[in-house]
Amino acid sequence: MALLEVRNLIKKFGSLVANNDVSFDVEEGAIVGLIGPNGAGKTTLFNCISGVYKPTSGKVFYEGTDITGWPPHKVARLGAVRTFQVVRPLIDMTVFDNILVGAFLKTSKLEVASEIAESCLKMCHLDDHRDKKAGSLTIGLKKRLELARAMATQPRLLMLDEVMAGLTGTELKEAVDVIKDIKSRGITLLVVEHIMEAIMPIADKVVVLDSGVKIAEGPPSEVVQDERVIAAYLGEKFSKRLREMKA
């Protein structure tokens, strides 16, 4: 049994079908990449899994439990925690306090929560910004804060929505290292990403969406050769480059 199972998920907004009959598994301990062109329905799918939206039909199972349509806080309590593509820092609270809110999910004691928050602060290299107001951070730092806060909840499944978008070269390398570090702690990752150079080398499996439909699923090396994926998203030149990068 996979940790997360999405079955025949359909989400409609009026006549627009954002997700059409999407099914896939996220295996325990893996990094699963969710890719596709803009408007493919990646964030909508995320919202359906994490409870922000209620799917029109279809099911979502976490550890075999049917969590379809559960409110976000209940999904998070089970251990499936997400970040937001459009960052949502708690602007009037400090960086540390932001992370502390996440840490309070598993404990009610301030000392324990502070320890957890402290380690997440370090892990995401936010030490220097500890006491700054979250609203005053740059976008790159806010993305890191999203990650640190989600990590502080001590999730089993971490769902990252474009945490690497808009980062500089060095920041990107750091982010990739952080994600590898998270995986080494035994946390399963579902990652929406546009930056192929970052996600392809670390993903165990990739799910490709186009216009709301799943067009491919498999290891990155196979997916980059898939005709439909090349046509819909990667393009001929880029697919070649990725293949060479792998080799």
Binding site: V101, F104, A150
Partner: protein, 321 residues
């Protein structure tokens, strides 16, 4: 800091000089009471970010609780105060359940209507005294009946007890999970939910505690005035005072309500005493001007100014770190 302030408040009415006049003592009592009341409001409005104009209803329920215990049932005010506070918490949960579905300003607007509803209801409700209200009989003074006729010192220490209760609670809350969760819901409900915060439960907890404490303040208020009628307690005017004091002092800050009350209440009482003949609204005009000045300059109120000054002071003093 906290213990220093407690000590200062404890000795304030004992200082000889102008503070010994009955009027000054009256101002001190009211200042403490409104600091308490505004702090109770601050739990929901400041920390949790749900601006309510309905708190005079909870304040009023507490006042009627104590009032009816004494006037209608001939008991001491204590059980009435507790029952009133519990009732206020229950009423707050009932009315906020539908209201919390409304976001931001709509919640605030809905609470306006609630004040009017309760005001009218109590005006025509014979059992609670209707428009005539409740007038206290003259009974034995002392802590048992929470009633004194000679001096205001005991009232002051009664208010001080309330102050310790409410401010200690908020101090504890600020350093605990509840405080962080309240602020998280204020700053971003969606983000908080994604981190496992049940925002509805958090808001309901906040309003129940806030209403409970507000009702205790109301019970004190009726014991102090020895009478109550609907316009005295359940009015938008009263609600507005809690809101304005907190905004002036600093929304969502620990010291804000005390600072706001220490500025506005003496101003209100002295301006009333001096210009009362002009028809009574002068204090409100001054309130209004102050609020406009503060809010346009510094949305965090007086506490915002103080924080700004201390950071500047630290920056110039310790430039090497």
């Amino acid at each position: 800091m906290w213990y220093g302030v407690l000590l200062l408040i404890a000795v304030l009415p004992l200082i000889p000089g102008p503070l010994q006049s009955p009027f000054a003592q009256h101002v001190l009592v009211l200042t403490l009471l409104f600091a308490c009341m505004s702090q109770a409001w601050n739990i929901l409005g400041g920390y949790c970010g749900q601006v309510s104009f309905g708190h005079s209803v909870f304040f009023g329920i507490g006042a009627y609780g104590a009032g009816m215990a004494v006037v209608t049932y001939g008991l001491t005010p204590w059980p009435g105060a507790i029952i009133g506070a519990l009732l206020a918490a229950i009423v707050s949960l009932i009315i906020s359940y539908p209201c919390f579905r409304l976001k931001g300003h709509y919640f605030a607007i809905a609470t306006f209507a609630i004040v009017e509803i309760f005001n009218r209801l109590f005006m025509v409700w014979y059992w609670v005294g209707g428009a005539l209200g409740l007038d206290y009989p003259i009974i034995e003074e002392g802590w048992k009946n929470f009633m004194w006729f000679q001096t205001k010192t005991q009232y002051y220490y009664g208010a001080f007890g309330l102050f310790i209760l409410i401010f200690s609670f908020v101090r504890w809350m600020e350093a605990n999970k509840l405080g962080y969760y309240l602020k998280a819901v204020r700053d971003g409900q969606e983000a908080a939910e994604a981190l496992g915060v049940n925002s509805t439960a958090v808001k309901l907890t906040a309003i129940a505690i806030s209403a409970f404490l507000a009702a205790l303040c109301g019970a004190f208020f009726v014991q102090y005035n020895l009478r109550v009628d609907p316009p005295m307690v359940m009015s938008l005017d009263m609600s507005m005072r809690f809101v304005l004091i907190t905004i002036l002092g600093g929304l969502g800050t620990f010291w804000g309500p005390l600072l706001g009350a220490a500025i506005l209440i003496p101003l209100q009482e002295y301006s009333r005493a001096m210009w009362g003949g002009l028809g009574g609204g002068v204090d409100l005009i001054i309130f209004g001007i102050l609020i406009v000045l503060i809010v346009t300059r510094q949305p965090k109120g007086v506490m915002g100014f103080i924080n700004l000054l201390t950071t500047r002071f630290k920056a110039t003093k310790g430039g090497d770190d």
